[in-house]
Amino acid sequence: MDWQVFWIFIHVALLVYWLGADISVFLTSLRVKNANYSKETRMALVKVLNFVNWFPSGANMFMLPVGLMLADGLGHSPVTGWWLVLVWVAAFAWLRLIWVAGNKRGTPEGKRLSTIDLYLRYALIALLVVVGVMSLATGEPFTAAWLAVKLLLFAYVLCMGLGIRFSFANFGPTFGRIMAQGSTPELEKEITRLTYAVKPWVLLLWGGLVVMGYIGIAQPQF
């Protein structure tokens, strides 16, 4: 068996736990905003939400290293050998970072780690855009145009992820206040507003992943 087959499988499996798992996050979040449910019910739903949401977050971290393994296998990528090892180490370190940040949410330490994560994302987006545009324009360092387009789309997906993060940032504190002080019409209005505000970002992110999936399979000439 070709190792490339193994990595393609992992690449698709990551999409399974990103796009496929997101369905659960989406459907559950639509119910959390229902003010008629008891605190206990809504708390249980948030628990489901928080757990399942780890899968898209984790898949997000590993999509790039696995994609780079595949690109290397095709001979389209300058990231080879020890550079790949470095990318993998970075991905695990980053996953660790968001894991700790997630568990320490609401503490100063959690906030600091979350800010680091945010700046890392900005840096990665900038890097992907520069490398993607360069590769499209000159055929270097990534030698296939469709791959360059996928890098740009990955940058786009990361941006949509930031859109989700910013538009939904107030959900946790607002929900926490409902749990602590009880429901008020203002707080419920805010929860409903946030649930609608985040939706377009989610749909745009899914769209990006779907297009990336298609391009990866079709590998069209641009």
Binding site: F9, S24, Y37, S38, V210, Q219
Partner: protein
């Protein structure tokens, strides 16, 4: 590996079905733990039950669509000796079946649903038989499917249908206890039944995951068998 647009789209759809099958199941599996947990009040368990039933429509839908999409990919790549015209009834039949599956989900009147739920089950058993024969016959004679790996994928799909059937059979006491809980409210007796009966269908769910992942892997690998 540049693929023609339409063929690439079919292969992509095939992969996307895999994504929503396995990915959707994750939420169902995790959330169902809350539904079965007696530490939560009845209302919470009912709401979680509703959500799991909604999410469960993802794997249910993908299973039905996998059939026409899979056969379309096989025909388009000349891997099965089958006239492309056969795809038309296959698609029409599958879409009708999908409509039935969704109707069974949306309709609340159990008495009205029951005969159709039985028909759905009969259809699944028929498919199980047809696909098993197709797979075994193809493996033995290399017709109408020449590639051994593809014949095996057909058998794996049949195995998934079988597991789905077993989920229904082994899950029946669990399902009935849930219905009773919804009517009578929770009781230690019902919780004991729920706890005792939840694990068996779960085992069959895990089998499906293994089979679906294996089928995806074989489809990518295409080993000579």
């Amino acid at each position: 590996m540049h693929l023609e647009f339409w063929y690439a789209l079919l292969v992509f759809l095939h992969a996307l079905l895999f994504v929503y099958w396995l990915g959707g199941d994750l939420g169902v599996f995790y959330a169902s733990r809350f539904r079965n947990n007696s530490a939560y009040d009845i209302k919470t368990r009912q709401v979680v039950g509703k959500i799991t039933a909604d999410i469960d429509m993802a794997p249910r839908t993908t299973l039905v669509l996998m059939l026409p999409v899979g056969f379309s990919v096989a025909v388009a790549s000349n891997r099965i000796a089958m006239d492309a015209l056969w795809l038309i009834p296959l698609w029409v039949g599958s879409l009708a079946w999908l409509a039935l599956v969704w109707w069974l989900h949306i309709e609340k009147d159990t008495a009205k649903k029951q005969p159709w739920a039985k028909n759905d089950l009969r259809l699944r058993l028929l498919l199980l038989a047809v696909l098993t024969v197709l797979g075994v016959y193809s493996l033995a004679t290399r017709e109408p499917i020449a590639d051994g790996w593809l014949a095996i994928k057909v058998l794996i799909f049949a195995a998934c249908i079988f597991c789905g059937y077993m989920i229904r059979v082994t899950g029946r006491p669990f399902f009935e206890a849930t219905q009773r809980m919804n009517k009578e409210g929770p009781s230690p007796e019902l919780d004991a039944i729920l706890r005792a009966t939840a694990s068996k269908p779960r085992l069959w769910v895990k089998f499906i995951w293994g089979f679906v992942a294996l089928a995806a892997f074989i489809g990518l690998w295409k080993p000579i068998l």
